[in-house]
Point group: C2
Chain length 345, copies 2
DNA sequence: AGAACATGAGCAAACGTTTGCGCAAGCACA
DNA sequence: TGTGCTTGCGCAAACGTTTGCTCATGTTCT
C-alpha cells in the first residue's frame, strides 16, 4: 500500500481534492460536518501531507538552513541545539551543513542549502560574510525577494542579512578588568581564528580593557590561535619565554583555555598561583576542569533561539534589528590574585 | 528577476523543456552541440534546478535524515561530523533533528523527517529501536518499499532497519582486563543511560571482563548514570563509601570520567594513585584532562561514514550487512598500578 | 532498393499539493 | 418577488521537473 494522498481521501469522502485540502487547513468555507468527516478519514488512513508537493506550490519548504563551522566545537554545538529547539517549536525543519571553518566550504554549503529551497539561512560563526552579498538567493515566491541570512556572531549589515551576536568586546574588556583588579599587570591574549568577527572583537575588547586599566599593550603578549585545544597547549612555552612573563592569560575560548590548563599542569605551572587563566564561552566542561575555569558565559542557547526568531521575523516581513547579547563573567578557580611582583614597573 | 527555470532556458534555446532537462543530465540522445549550447545558457543564466520539483517527480529528495540524541555530547558531535562529511561527498543533504535523549521525541523527530521525504534515516544512539518497526515509512516511489533506517550504536535487526555499531562489550571487557593486569581487584562501573544498547553492552562487557579475570562481580560496584558529567562528579562520594573501596573505575563515557576526575581532584583523591579511571569514546578533550584520561577509542567519524554508506547501500538495493567496528584502548595517565593492598581476599 | 535500426528531439502526463475563480443554493432584505 | 449577500463546494491551473512514448530524419545492412 503506497503513500496515501489527498486524492485518496477525496475519493473516499466523495468530495473534491480541493475540499480535502481546505478542510485540513481549517479553511472557513468548509462546513463543520464535512471537515470533521475528512479529518477523521485522514487520521484513520494515516495521511501525512507531502511537504515536497506543498513546497512546490507555496514556494516555501518550512525548512531553515544551518551552516555550522564545526559541530565538534562545544560552543557551536550548544548554539545549534538552541537553533534546533527553536526551529522545532516553530515547526521548521533544519537542513544542516558544515563549513569546517573554511570560507569556501561555507559559501558552497550555503549554496547547496539554498538549492534545497530553505526558507532562511542561519550561519554559525561565519568567516566570509561579505560573500553573502553576491550569493544568488532569489526564490520563486519569495516574500521579501531574497531568502534572509542571519549571521551568528557577526555584525555584517546588508539588505537581507541579519545579525545576532554577543558583545564580545565588552565581555573581553570586562575579563581584563577582572584580571587587572586581581593585580595582574601583564596579561596575555591567545587570539582566535582570523576572519571571524568574534575573534577580532575579543581582541579589540582585550585592548580596550588594557587601556581602561592603564596597562600598556605589548604586541608580544598576543599569541595567534584558532580556537582549538592545541592553541592553549602550545601557548604555554611561548608564555614562559616572555619577558616580562605574563601572570594571566585571556583565551579566545574555553577550548584554548583548557589546552593551556593541561599544559600548565604538565609543566608544573600552578594555576592560578603562577598563572591565572580566563576562558570564553562557558562550555559545560569548563566547570569540570582542574582547576575549574573562570570564563565568560555566552548565552548559547539564547543566541540560537534569537537567530531563529530573527530569521522568522525577516520571513514575515517584520523588522528584525540586530541582536546583541551581553556576556557575564563566571568566576571559578582558575583565576587568583597576582602572586608575583611585577618584573617591570 | 525571479528564479530561472528550465522553461526559460528552453525558450531561449528554442527547444522543448524536455530537451533542456535531458541535456543537463547528460542524456545520450542529445546532440553534443545542443548540449553545449544549453549547458552554456544555463551557466550564463545562473540556472539552479529546483530540488523540490525534482523530488516531487522522482520521489527522492537526495536528503538523509539524522536524528541525534544530543549534539552537545562530544561523541555524538564527532559522529555527526562524520555523517555530514560522508553525506556531502555523496551529494546528499542532511535534515537534522534532536531527540534530547527522549524516546518520544526521537520517534516524533523521525516522523517529521519522514514527512519531509528524506531518502533514508540515520539515528545516532537510539533509545527506542523497536518503535521503528511500526513507524509508517512508505514512500511514493520507494525503491525497496520503505525508507531505510540505520541505527547507530544499536543492533536491532528488522527488515529495513540496519545497524552500525562498535563492539562495546569487547572494548569494555578489554578495559577491565587492562585494569586487572594493573593489579586492581575492585573495579567499579558507572553505567550509561538505560535503554541504550551501548550502555547495556558496556555493562555486559564489564561483567565479562570481570569473569575473564576471575574477579567477583558485586552489584554495589555498579553505579547508575546517564553518560553525563554530573554522573562522575556525584559518583565519587558513593565510591568512597564503598566497602571494599574500589581502586579503579570504568566509566560509560569520557564525560562521566571527566566529572569523576574533577571530583577526585577536588576531594584530594589522587588519580591514578588512589583511583584509576578509564573512560570511553576518546573525545578530543580526554587528552587534555589532568591527568590525561585513559579511554577506549571509538572510531567516531568512521562510524558516521559507515552509517551513510550503509544507508546508501540499502537505498541502492544492495546488501547492507550490520557493521561492527572494534575499539582500542588509549593508554594515558589516569590509570596506574593498584597501590592499595586488597582489603578483601 | 528496401528493411531495419540509430539518432535527435518534442508532446504530454505525472508527481501531490494549493488557490483563484466560478457557481449553485440558501437566506435576508427591500 | 426580485436583488444581493453568504455559504459550501468543485474546476482547473499552477509549481518545475522527469520520463515514456511518438515521430521524423538519417544511416547501415542485406
Amino acid at each position: 500500500m503506497a503513500h496515501v494522498s489527498i486524492i485518496d481521501i477525496a475519493r473516499l469522502a466523495q468530495v473534491s481534492p480541493s475540499t480535502v485540502s481546505r478542510a485540513l487547513q481549517n479553511h472557513p468555507r468548509i462546513s463543520p460536518e464535512r471537515r470533521a468527516e475528512i479529518v477523521a478519514l485522514a487520521e484513520q488512513l494515516g495521511y501525512r501531507p507531502s511537504q515536497v508537493a506543498r513546497s512546490l506550490v507555496t514556494g516555501q519548504t518550512h525548512t531553515l538552513g544551518v551552516v555550522a563551522s564545526d559541530v565538534t566545537d562545544p560552543f557551536v554545538a550548544e548554539v545549534l541545539k538552541g537553533v534546533e529547539a527553536a526551529a522545532r517549536r516553530a515547526d521548521y525543519g533544519l537542513l544542516m551543513a558544515m563549513s569546517n571553518r573554511d570560507p569556501a566550504q561555507e559559501i558552497e554549503a550555503a549554496a547547496v542549502l539554498l538549492d534545497h529551497q530553505v526558507d532562511g539561512l542561519i550561519v554559525i560563526s561565519s568567516r566570509a560574510p561579505e560573500r553573502y552579498r553576491h550569493l544568488p538567493r532569489t526564490r520563486a515566491h519569495a516574500v521579501g525577494g531574497a531568502v534572509p541570512v542571519v549571521l551568528l556572531n557577526h555584525d555584517f549589515s546588508e539588505a537581507g542579512v541579519y545579525s545576532v551576536r554577543m558583545d564580545n568586546a565588552g565581555a573581553a574588556s570586562a575579563a581584563v578588568t577582572l584580571l587587572s583588579q586581581l593585580g595582574h599587570r601583564h596579561i596575555a591574549f591567545i587570539a582566535g581564528p582570523g576572519g571571524g568577527q568574534s575573534s577580532h572583537a575579543r581582541m579589540t575588547g582585550y585592548l580596550q580593557g588594557l587601556a581602561l586599566n592603564h596597562l600598556t599593550p605589548l604586541p608580544e603578549l598576543i599569541l595567534q590561535g584558532a580556537g582549538m585545544l592545541e592553541d592553549g597547549w602550545e601557548a604555554l612555552a611561548a608564555l614562559q619565554a616572555m619577558q616580562p612573563r605574563p601572570t594571566a592569560v585571556l583565551c579566545y575560548n574555553d577550548l584554548a583555555a583548557m589546552g593551556l590548563l593541561a599544559a600548565a599542569a604538565k609543566a608544573g605551572v600552578g594555576v592560578p598561583d603562577a598563572l591565572s587563566v580566563v576562558g570564553f564561552d562557558n562550555i559545560p566542561l569548563s566547570a569540570y576542569t582542574v582547576p575549574a575555569l573562570t570564563t565568560v558565559e555566552q548565552p548559547k542557547a539564547a543566541l540560537g533561539q534569537a537567530a531563529v526568531r530573527t530569521c522568522l521575523r525577516a520571513l514575515a516581513g517584520e523588522p528584525a534589528p540586530p541582536v546583541v547579547m551581553s556576556g557575564q563573567i563566571i568566576l571559578r578557580a582558575s583565576t587568583g590574585p597576582c602572586r608575583l611582583p611585577s618584573a617591570v614597573g
